[in-house]
């Protein structure tokens, strides 16, 4: 008798919010839509916490020599703010959007490995709570989000926080790797029969490239974290210079993870933008192949630029020149994308919905962030500005003005699909304009602060910084505006979920497959799929007389 028998799978439907409303149906769910919503809620939860931490930082810095929190608390707060926002807000929100929409966009009913999907979510969740448990265990991590050795080593930081950082991050890293494995197998094995790779929606392309980046980058972080843990717990010497280790090795390992991570955080965001802009401009994306291929180029290049985080450590001119040049080079495919998005809007009939507004503001703010990033690729400029508030301004322009704006755009765009109701456009416009005003107030002036010489991560500053009080005051006031905007956003989510305007299956008149089913989708996403012959199957369906070019 053959050993091959299929593993017995339950034939009946998996639990869904439609069938049972109990909490257990969520805890035990392997449905990709439920898991995705849990990812989004996790991100939202930590977004609130990270936002409150940001408020503490801005209150502390709003005036010179303020004593709102102690220096010890301040170190913990800014460390946790960075770590939270990157690993527990941006990553889960992007993975959440991917988990919901990648299977739907490729015409699949489920991820390739539903149980792995659930595992990835819960382990990410666990990692987040381990990280935050450090507050109750006595001390949160306090060595910055990149946790430079030897500051993070026992002789300098004897408290328990760093250990929680190491364990929490390696756990969430494992979750991200699981999600990435699942995305790649899903895209490669679960596509609808007619859908070839050159017909994938761009969001799926970006998530696919992104998943490869995750698979390359997160093991690097994990090995570094394990070494640090071995250092701290078993008295090894990897990153302790006094006994033969090297602090630079930590920086190399961390940034060879950390720079790809930056692209991990922006690629799916670009995917969202590439979905939303065409729909609200009523034009197909300009230069599909360029957008897809430039992502691959960025993915490959991103592993060759990490040392631009380390120009100030005193490497040779050759090394500096190489990494400076490669960092400049990565601006090229990025610029290609920006041009593609603008060209997509050119002569389109643009609908200024909130999702579209977030995309437009993304384009502006992200471009500012990209340009200030280019200035760090120039070695002498980097020497001048490194570890100043200029860096803080730059990274917030790409992470908040870039990724977070795209996530907001995605939420406004896809909320009708997820819940069957529109988010309120009126509240949404308050959200978008308050947020973008506050955002630019907060971070635009930080470029100046950095140039004037305010170092980052400092607890407080003296009165003698040029315009220090004024600029920091503007910055803090902007943070308050953002705080109000996010409160409006939360209220919008709540009230629209309860009694928002009902949305049909395809409220935006969009083109990709996720709109071919009901809103919210049933447990089995699709009963039947429309014919797929081009990149815009729903367009072909609605305009039989004017179909796109057949690609299969």
């Amino acid at each position: 008798m053959s050993l091959y028998q299929p593993i017995p799978e339950p034939k009946d439907e998996l639990p869904s919010p439609k069938r049972s409303t109990g909490l257990l149906s969520w805890f035990s769910s392997v449905d990709h839509k439920q898991i995705a919503i849990m990812y989004m809620l996790l991100a939202l939860f930590f977004f609130i916490i990270g936002g409150l931490e940001a408020m503490v930082i801005r209150i502390q810095l709003s005036m010179p020599q303020s004593g709102f929190v102690t220096p010890q608390t301040y170190s913990q707060i800014f460390t946790m703010h960075g770590t939270t926002m990157i690993f527990l807000v941006l990553m889960p929100s992007l993975i959440g959007l991917g988990t919901y929409f990648v299977p739907m966009m490729i015409g699949a009913n489920e991820m390739a490995f539903p149980r792995l999907n659930a595992f990835s979510f819960w382990i990410t969740c666990l990692g987040g709570f381990v990280l935050y448990f450090s507050f109750f265990a006595g001390n949160a991590p306090n060595a910055g989000w990149f946790n430079y050795a030897p500051l993070s080593e026992k002789p300098y930081t004897a408290n328990i926080g760093i250990d929680y950082y190491v364990i929490g991050l390696s756990i969430t890293g494992i979750g991200s790797i699981g999600a990435a494995l699942n995305f790649i197998t899903t895209v490669l094995t679960r596509r609808a029969k007619q859908m070839k790779l050159n017909m994938l929606p761009l969001f799926v392309w970006m998530v696919l490239v992104n998943s490869f980046l995750i698979l390359g980058a997160f093991p690097l972080l994990n090995s570094g974290l394990f070494m640090l843990l071995i250092d701290r717990q078993l008295d090894a010497h990897f990153f302790v210079p006094s006994t033969g280790g090297s602090a630079l090795v930590w920086q190399h390992i961390f940034w060879s993870f950390g720079h790809p991570e930056v692209y991990i955080l922006i690629l799916p965001a670009w995917g969202v933008i590439s979905e939303v802009i065409p729909v609200f401009s009523r034009k197909p994306i300009f230069g599909y192949a360029f957008v897809a291929v430039s992502s691959i180029a960025i993915g490959l290049l991103s592993f060759g630029v990490w040392m631009h985080h380390m120009f100030a450590i005193g490497m040779s001119n050759t090394v500096n020149a190489f990494f400076g040049a490669s960092s400049l080079l990565i601006g090229v495919p990025t610029g290609v994308k920006v041009i593609n998005w603008i060209a997509t809007m050119y002569k389109g009939s643009i609908r200024f919905t909130v999702a579209m507004l977030f995309c437009l503001l993304f384009l502006i703010n992200f471009t500012i962030g990209g340009l200030s990033g280019i200035s760090f690729a120039l070695v002498p400029v980097d020497w001048q500005l490194t570890d100043s508030y200029y860096v803080v301004a730059h990274l917030h322009y790409v992470f908040l003005g870039g990724t977070a704006f795209a996530v907001f755009a995605g939420v406004y765009y896809w909320f009708p699909k997820m819940t069957g109701r529109f988010l309120s456009e009126k509240l949404g416009k308050w959200h978008v304009w308050l947020f973008v005003t506050g955002f630019n107030m907060t971070f635009l002036v930080q470029h100046l602060l950095g140039i004037f010489g305010m170092p980052r991560r400092v607890y407080t500053y003296m009165d003698d910084l040029p315009y220090g009080f004024l600029l920091n005051g503007i910055s803090s006031a902007g943070a308050v505006l953002m705080f109000i905007a996010v409160a409006i956003f939360l209220w919008n989510l709540y009230i629209s979920y309860k009694k928002g305007k009902k949305a049909g299956p395809d409220p935006w008149n969009a083109w990709t497959l996720e709109w071919a089913t009901t809103s919210p989708p049933t447990l089995q996403n699709f009963k039947e799929l429309p014919p797929i012959h081009s990149r815009r199957p729903l367009w072909d369906l609605k305009h039989p007389e004017n179909q796109d070019k057949r690609l299969n």
């Binding site: 053959s2 050993l3 091959y4 990435a180 490669l188 698979l215 070494m227 250092d231 078993l234």
Partner: protein
């Protein structure tokens, strides 16, 4: 590719490769770029390590053979092949344990110097992977006896890819840790 289990395993070991790459690069970095005297290398037992290497490579071959016989539905040969594979993996782990014990008797530990830190971390993580692989192989072996025969093609392909990977990583470690100090 249709076999999603094999694809998953390939991608997974791809990411594992980056993990070991980092450990190995760190090892090489400290061997070349630090002034700490190389105190562990003279104590390494290269002959034993070579024997263990042969064991591990052979176990990869026996795994392949036993998988082939499974596909031809020769269950008995499959079981024997799996058993030999398990045995060889166990010999490897025991040999590594003996190595650690010998070093420990000479007071060479993870906390003694940077070489010790590197050596034990690198080989320790590899040993952990061998152990996990051995566990998976034992499960495949055990399933072949049970009434409830749930060895799937995807499963066995995945374990095979993983096992070859563990084997391949060891070849690198063997070369860089044991052979290069002799060159």
């Amino acid at each position: 590719m249709k076999d999603k289990g094999k694809l998953l395993a390939l991608l997974f070991i791809g990411s594992e490769a980056f993990f070991f790459l980092t450990l190995l690069m760190t090892y090489i970095y400290f061997r070349r770029d630090t002034l700490i005297h190389d105190s562990v290398a003279p104590h390494l037992n290269v002959k034993r390590a070579a024997f263990l290497t042969i064991c591990l490579v052979t176990s990869s071959v026996t795994f392949m053979l036993s998988k082939k016989s499974l596909f031809k539905n020769k269950i008995r040969r499959f079981k024997i092949g799996m058993f030999i594979t398990m045995l060889l993996a166990a010999i490897f782990l025991l040999g590594q344990g003996k190595e650690y014990y010998d070093l420990y008797k000479k007071q060479i530990t993870i906390s003694r110097d940077i070489f010790g830190s590197n050596f034990f971390t690198l080989t320790g993580f590899h040993g952990l992977h061998v152990f996990l692989g051995l566990t998976c192989i034992s499960l495949l072996f055990a399933f072949s006896f049970s009434k409830f025969k749930i060895v799937t093609k995807a499963g066995i392909n995945g374990v095979e890819v993983y096992w070859h990977f563990v084997d391949g990583v060891w070849l690198f470690i063997f070369f860089y840790v044991y052979i290069t100090p002799l060159l």
